[in-house]
């Protein structure tokens, strides 16, 4: 059968992540019988990150217990604790930091993101200053929270920062959230739901400071964090600080690779094949998960950059299928962006791209009830929906987005809200003014939209 040779050979996966593991499993599921090597810079087998800001910080699960269960054993050679430092595209080898290099016939890149560090390295090194991305980060922070600090300062009111603040309050800890934008989550959900997020934080006793920037972190002279200065002249005394300023794509190791890798990720086509720097698609390098950016027809063929669990799984499965399938049998990755967050007792779920919007309606429920479905539209078309404690409704709106249904959406729910016809501006701010970004970003060009800002570090 044509393409049978694709089921054999050498495949290397760089990134022992959720996407890396699911990609490895899917390759075997698709009939790949060749050699499979997975490289990961952390010394741990693939683990799940969402519990790190929830169960782990709440003290309900130790940080070393979030290892991901396998769907099947991918029979791979796991090279853990080893960092890939480059790719030789002509020699078809991945170069490792231990001096070895791994030859490949096809390569899958799933290196994801890391936490954006506090910009001042000396202040970032103070004892008590954390970021939250890895299992080690979460273990260290959970230990510090269990010791009962006087106050925790969270810098950044995005999803991670808000979940950390929620966990702190649940543990009875005093917490201050400092956010440069007008409200938490505004960069991801727009103005209306950000107001609900702010109310929830304050009702749960969070000292929420919006419209301020943290200008300096202070130490006690012995290298211990003691507090921070704010742009409004204020000062916060705290003994733990969590920097939650979003994510940085792990692409630096590809600088010499000739691939289209940049601060927004590695550009790939709808079939997960990486572009090279000339915009020519490769046929042996594939990308999946947070490190990729890929075109989506529902959003004007702009390139989507997602930091979502579900996308890592779905895209890795498509990449694996396409790595072992000849051209005509390849599939596009067309899954709609979907994410969830649990904070302050509310379950927030989203489908589509909320920032790709000009207006919203509350289609079911209400802000006062803390239970609602909000639908986002762009130029008269449904582009996203967010539910708060109404997850069962989300699928309905997903179908509307997939069908490019008119906005405001037609009556569909028996419990249709009175406000369902009243479109109000979605009020998505310029991300330059925020401490947090959306976890879904369009990185193409639309004259009236500017939805991401790139902040190179280091």
């Amino acid at each position: 059968m044509p393409g049978d040779d694709l089921k054999d050979g050498r495949i290397v996966i760089v990134g022992a992540s959720l996407a890396g593991l699911r990609g490895a499993e899917a390759l075997r599921e698709e009939g790949f019988t060749g050699s499979l090597t997975v490289v990961g810079d952390e010394p741990y087998p693939p683990y799940d990150r969402p519990p790190l800001s929830k169960q782990v910080l709440l003290g309900q699960a130790p940080a070393d217990t979030t290892g991901l269960p396998m769907r099947r054993d991918p029979d791979a050679d796991w090279r853990l604790g080893v960092r890939a430092t480059g790719v030789d595209p002509l020699g078809k080898r991945v170069v490792l930091d231990d001096g070895e290099s791994l030859p490949f016939d096809r390569l899958l890149i799933t290196t994801g993101t890391r936490a954006r560090p506090w910009p001042n390295p000396e202040e970032a090194a103070l004892d008590g200053v954390f970021t939250l991305r890895t299992r080690d980060d979460a273990g260290g922070l959970a230990k510090r929270l269990a010791a009962g600090p006087e106050r925790v300062l969270v810098i950044g009111g995005g999803f991670t920062g808000s979940e950390i603040a929620s966990a702190c309050r649940e543990r009875g800890l005093e917490v201050t959230v400092a956010e440069r934008g007008p409200a938490p989550l505004v960069g991801a959900l727009g103005g209306t739901l950000s107001k609900l997020a702010a109310v929830m934080q304050r009702n749960h006793g969070v000292d929420l400071r919006c419209g301020v920037t943290v200008t300096a972190l202070r130490g006690d002279g012995n290298g211990r964090f003691t507090g921070a200065d704010l742009s409004d002249g204020g000062r916060i005394d705290a003994d733990v600080c969590v920097v939650a300023l979003g994510a940085v794509r792990n692409v630096e190791w590809l600088a010499e690779s000739g691939l289209a890798a940049g601060p927004r990720g590695i550009a790939c086509d709808a079939g997960c094949r990486a572009f090279n720097m000339y915009g020519i698609v490769t046929d042996d390098v594939f990308v999946a998960g947070d490190v990729s950016r890929f075109p989506h027809p529902l959003f004007g063929y702009q390139m989507l950059s997602l930091e979502h669990w579900g996308n890592a799984v779905a895209q890795a499965e498509v990449a694996a299928h396409n790595m072992v399938s000849p051209g005509p049998l390849r599939r596009p990755h067309l899954t709609l962006p979907t994410f969830w967050s649990t904070q302050f007792g509310l379950n927030i779920k989203s489908v589509g791209v909320p920032t790709f919007s000009d207006h919203v309606v509350i289609a079911q429920g209400s802000l006062e009830a803390r239970r609602l479905a909000m639908v986002y539209g762009y130029q008269g078309r449904v582009t996203a929906a967010v539910t708060v404690d109404m997850a069962k409704s989300l699928d309905y709106y997903r179908h509307l987005i997939e069908a490019a249904a008119p906005f405001p959406p037609p009556p569909g729910a028996a419990d249709r809200a009175i406000a369902a016809d009243i479109a109000i501006p979605s009020d998505v701010p310029d991300p330059k003014g925020l401490s947090h970004g959306p976890t879904v970003a369009l990185t193409g060009y639309l004259p009236d939209r500017r939805l991401t800002v790139v902040q190179p570090t280091g």
Binding site: P45, P50, T65, P69, D77, V313, A391
Partner: protein
């Protein structure tokens, strides 16, 4: 054994909470928190929960073993 719930799929039917309350708990009205490490005496209950989940969001399995090469 380890468990992971695909919370993108989860719609809060909470069948798992009834079948294996020591592992799955609701946090608020429909947010789900779960023990990532499943104790041996809960494995059968988690299997039942995985089978009963209306949206098939629960995966139970072994993690990649640390010494794998």
């Amino acid at each position: 054994m380890r468990t992971v719930v695909d919370l993108t799929r989860c719609q809060g039917y909470a069948q798992c909470v009834f079948l294996a309350p020591a592992v799955f708990q609701l946090h608020g009205e429909e947010g789900l928190l779960y023990a990532t490490a499943v104790p041996d005496d809960q494995v059968e209950r988690v299997r039942q929960a995985a089978a009963a989940c209306p949206v098939q969001a629960i995966l139970l399995g072994e993690e990649v073993s640390a010494g794998a090469r």
